[in-house]
């Protein structure tokens, strides 16, 4: 007896000393920290709001942007694959600043023999070199690409001073261009057009075995860089990957081509009667009333006839484009041209496709219809498409966008046959590139800095547009789980979305698929379509024909929805973390009216006896020592204290509507992943019925590793699944169910394989 008391005493002593030691150790090593909550507001990451980019995410009352107008005469020399241009640039300084110099983009210089672009890519020798690759890498004579600037003159014909740094040209002004003033000057240039099939590139020409060329011409003239209050001059070099930042303006362009060429470009053709035959012109006008199906402007027969010849005469196409950020065109003898009208609240927009016979029958079946569908779906998500036409050009191996016009690959085999994959790829690329008219051609973000702002946002709307065009070919079910492979990859090879475009691993997954998947999760799961769509539209309308930044997007989405999404932007856009939420433990509880140990402790803390506790019910878990078999299966209503409360407080009408839970579960969720996400839980009951509950992401705000929730139920639960539809990009599904499933994907497949 004595001995045992001593043992107990010593035990207590040991316990208290060890407890004391623990506390002491804790206080001596624990250090403070900054706010490391995943729900911390983004104020430190986002730029301070100002009168141009406001805290709401809208343009402010002092918002301004420069305007640049171009008048150009272009000659396309098909014989020698050269292009010549004379341009008059009118630069409007709408900023509050005086400018000492202007920066002009010379994108073609990325292909000049002394371009540094190939030099920035590291890597040892390849395992094998095809003869073509070997000669190109070690022996080849470099392509004589790049701009040849013949002169830069002021309006009086006097030479202006300039300096070229790779793909950027600084034009020095004899006196600063004052705020509100405009400056006119002329540049004369030419360059050798690249065979983009051999040299790669977003523009150039594709040679055909029949001797014809198909030109897709872009980044083809010296273009002004953007000057604003975000980057100053956006004059980061063009390394070939990160795209463009450009000012809006009006374009008056004449293009001289061989007489037998067919051409379309940015803007409206001002002299259709001069460039089309009489019949073609009639069809060109008639097409404006064809709202139900595409009709030919240039027929396959006419194209076939044209590609046999080689005219030495020329003709000049005159274009005018209002409020565009760039100009591109495509020209060839081989072009078939079809057209369909699209109605936007009484305004007619033309959907056009130009393609060689090699694109058929795929192109005549789908291209123009896809263009029309894309314009409609994107307009519903943003604003009515404001330009007069959208044109899809068939150019092999391309996928590149310009205002009103884009180049798209996708051709059937030589036998004219194609499979579903080719068709799907072609519809996908056309939807994507036509969609770029909205992002970034109109909602004009800085592509050089933020690839995701045009590619990611565009890839998101693309998902909706493709689904509308063919829901079987483009099911929504693959999103957002398509991104889990990338997000669960080696962290050394992942960069946050918020990284400049030249410095990211896995360009496609980083800047296209991941932001698109993120917006998909926001729309479908976190915000819901109603809130999301309104906020997204708000962003698009606010920044239509302007230069938004990431902060303007993040802020607008919150401003228009009353949802604090800083945790989502922080996790998904600013980090490389991924989502992994699981169910760790499920405990079953029963109801009793007998105070539990926990209740006794509570009473003690208040210095009262158990009898003094208010009449209460208690939940007891099956593994607790308070549990006795007699409370198993008892309903809460079996206890008189609850019954009398119900009698006194609920009317006869209310009583039948009272829920009467019989089973109580404590669900313990674990979160090995870095990201916070809503917890979506599916409960399957003994009778086979199912129910869902979604806990907001904010459930993680005080504990980033583990949370528990009590779930009352009138039926016994047989199975619990976290994120049953895979809508949160959970990278690890092995902890998503209770009872734990032991079979992985491989074993499942193997089992079905043997069965089948």
């Amino acid at each position: 007896m004595k001995k045992s008391i001593l043992t107990i005493l010593s035990l207590i002593f040991i316990l208290t000393t060890s407890l004391a030691q623990e506390t002491e150790q804790k206080t001596s090593v624990q250090k403070g920290h900054y706010n490391i909550s995943k729900f911390k507001q983004l104020n430190e990451e986002l730029p301070t709001p100002n009168k141009e980019h406001t805290a709401s995410g809208a343009p402010g009352y002092e918002y301004s942007q420069q305007q640049v107008d171009y008048k150009m005469d272009i000659i396309l020399d098909d014989e020698h694959q050269k292009i010549f241009g004379k341009e008059t640039i009118t630069y409007h300084n709408n900023s509050k600043d005086d400018l000492d110099y202007l920066w002009i983009q010379l994108d073609q210089n990325v292909r000049s023999p002394n371009s540094k672009s190939p030099d920035i890519n590291g890597g040892g020798p390849s395992a094998l070199y095809t003869p073509a690759k070997f000669t190109k890498t070690f022996m080849g004579k470099p392509f004589q690409g790049g701009f040849n600037i013949e002169h830069v003159k002021d309006i009086n014909g006097l030479d202006m001073s300039y300096m070229i740094n790779s793909t950027m040209m600084r034009l020095d002004l004899s006196k600063p261009l004052a705020s509100g003033e405009k400056l006119q000057f002329n540049i004369k240039w030419w360059y050798n057009i690249n065979d983009y099939m051999a040299e790669r590139g977003r523009s150039g020409y594709e040679p055909f075995p029949d001797g014809n060329n198909l030109y897709v011409i872009a980044q083809f003239f010296p273009r002004l860089a953007v000057y604003n209050n975000v980057e100053g001059w956006q004059n980061m070099q063009f390394w070939g990957s990160s795209e463009f930042a450009l000012e809006f303006g009006n374009y008056d362009v004449s293009i001289t081509t061989p007489k037998d060429h067919i051409l379309n470009g940015t803007g409206v053709i001002k002299n259709p009667k001069e460039v089309f035959t009489k019949t073609q012109y009639k069809r060109y006008e008639a097409a404006k009333n064809s709202f139900d199906k595409p009709v030919f402007i240039v027929t396959p027969e006419e194209a076939l006839e044209a590609e046999k010849g080689k005219s030495s005469e020329t003709k000049t196409w005159r274009f005018y484009a209002e409020n565009v950020r760039d100009f591109g065109f495509s020209s060839s003898r081989k072009f078939i041209w079809d057209a369909m009208a699209v109605n936007f609240n009484g305004r007619t927009v033309m959907a056009y496709s130009l393609y060689p016979k090699e694109g058929n029958p795929l192109w005549e079946e789908h291209s123009t219809r896809v263009v029309a569908n894309t314009l409609k779906v994107y307009s519903e998500s943003t604003f009515d498409y404001p330009y007069p036409h959208a044109t899809s050009i068939n150019a092999a191996r391309q996928g590149m966008e310009y205002p009103m016009i884009c180049w798209n690959g996708g051709r059937p085999g030589i036998d004219g046959k194609y499979n579903e994959r080719t068709k799907k790829g072609m519809i996908g690329v056309i939807t994507h590139e036509v969609g770029h008219n909205f992002f970034p051609m109109i909602v004009n973000s800085d592509e050089r800095q933020w690839t995701w702002m045009d590619e990611g946002i565009n890839s998101f709307v693309e998902i909706l547009a493709e689904y509308k065009y063919d829901s079987e070919l483009f099911p929504l079910t693959k999103y957002p789980k398509n991104i889990t492979g990338y997000m669960s990859g080696d962290q050394d090879r992942i960069s946050p979305i918020m990284s400049q475009g030249d410095n990211i691993f896995n360009f496609g997954a980083n800047a296209y698929s991941k932001p698109a998947a993120g917006l998909f999760i926001l729309r479908q799961t976190i915000m819901g379509p109603e809130l999301f769509d309104h906020a997204f539209k708000t962003y698009a309308k606010r920044w239509k024909f302007k230069h938004p930044t990431p902060a303007d997007f993040f802020r607008s989405m919150e401003d228009a929805s009353a949802m604090d999404l800083d945790w989502f932007w922080r996790g998904w856009f600013y980090t490389t973390g991924n989502n992994d939420i699981g169910i760790k433990e499920v405990k079953k509880y029963h109801v009793t009216d007998k105070p539990t140990e926990q209740a006794e402790n509570l009473a003690k803390r208040y210095g009262i006896s158990i009898d003094q506790l208010p009449p209460s019910l208690y939940l007891v878990s099956e593994d607790s020592k308070d549990f006795t078999e007699d409370i198993r299966g008892k309903k809460p209503e079996d206890y008189s204290i609850l019954n009398s409360y119900i009698e006194q407080n609920f009317s006869a009408e209310e009583k039948p509507h009272i829920k009467s839970p019989k089973y109580f579960y404590e669900l313990v969720f674990e979160k090995p992943g870095d990201l916070v996400m809503p917890i979506i839980v599916e409960f399957e009951y003994e009778d086979g019925t199912k129910e869902r509950k979604q806990y907001p992401a904010e459930i993680w705000r005080l504990n980033d590793d583990e949370v528990s929730k009590v779930f009352p139920s009138s039926k016994s639960i047989t199975k619990i699944t976290v994120d049953p539809d895979e809508e949160t990009a959970d990278v690890n599904l092995s902890n998503n169910s209770w009872p734990k499933t032991t079979e992985n994907k491989f074993e499942n497949f193997k089992k079905n394989q043997i069965k089948g």
Partner: protein, 157 residues
């Protein structure tokens, strides 16, 4: 610009993902390897000098024979310093991907593993074959390409 996984886009990825997991209780090495169908179609067609369609109605009825041969020539495993053969469990098509399920059985203990993956390297100079290896709680990723076709992991101390 377009990057999605399309044969005709200039900046398309050339990537494959091969997930390898050792399950000790089952003495099994489970492999799931995914390749882009159009890339594999091109490789098989060139190799066999005839157009081979995959996942279309023109797919040859003995397509699995082509797959088995290609995989056994291009995915090589050495376990505990011994070359081993895998069982071809099957394959599934998922959108533009084909996923192969392969298994090495009777691996009582895993001391070392060496994986050589030359899938598609011959036809696509930019091809990258990613191997994700999982042994219990240990994860390792190899990035294989034309410069480096082999990943080795040694568990012996």
């Amino acid at each position: 610009m377009l990057i999605p996984l399309l044969a005709f886009t200039m900046h398309k990825y050339y990537i494959s993902l091969c997930e390898v997991e050792y399950i000790e209780e089952k003495q099994s090495i489970q492999i799931i390897t995914g390749l882009f169908i159009d890339d594999l179609e091109l490789a098989l067609s060139k190799l066999n000098n005839t157009k081979i369609n995959i996942a279309t109605n023109k797919e040859p009825s003995n397509i699995d024979e082509y797959f088995k041969e290609y995989l056994s020539n291009n995915l090589k495993l050495t376990i505990n310093s011994k070359k081993v053969e895998f069982n071809y469990i099957g394959r599934e098509y998922d959108d533009n991907l084909v996923r192969f399920y392969l298994e090495v059985t009777n691996v009582k203990k895993l001391e070392s593993i060496e994986i050589t993956n030359t899938c598609l390297l011959k036809y696509f100079e930019d091809q990258q074959n990613i191997i994700k290896l999982k042994v219990k709680n240990y994860h390792k990723t190899f990035y294989l390409d034309n410069n480096n076709t082999k990943g080795v992991l040694n568990f012996q101390k």
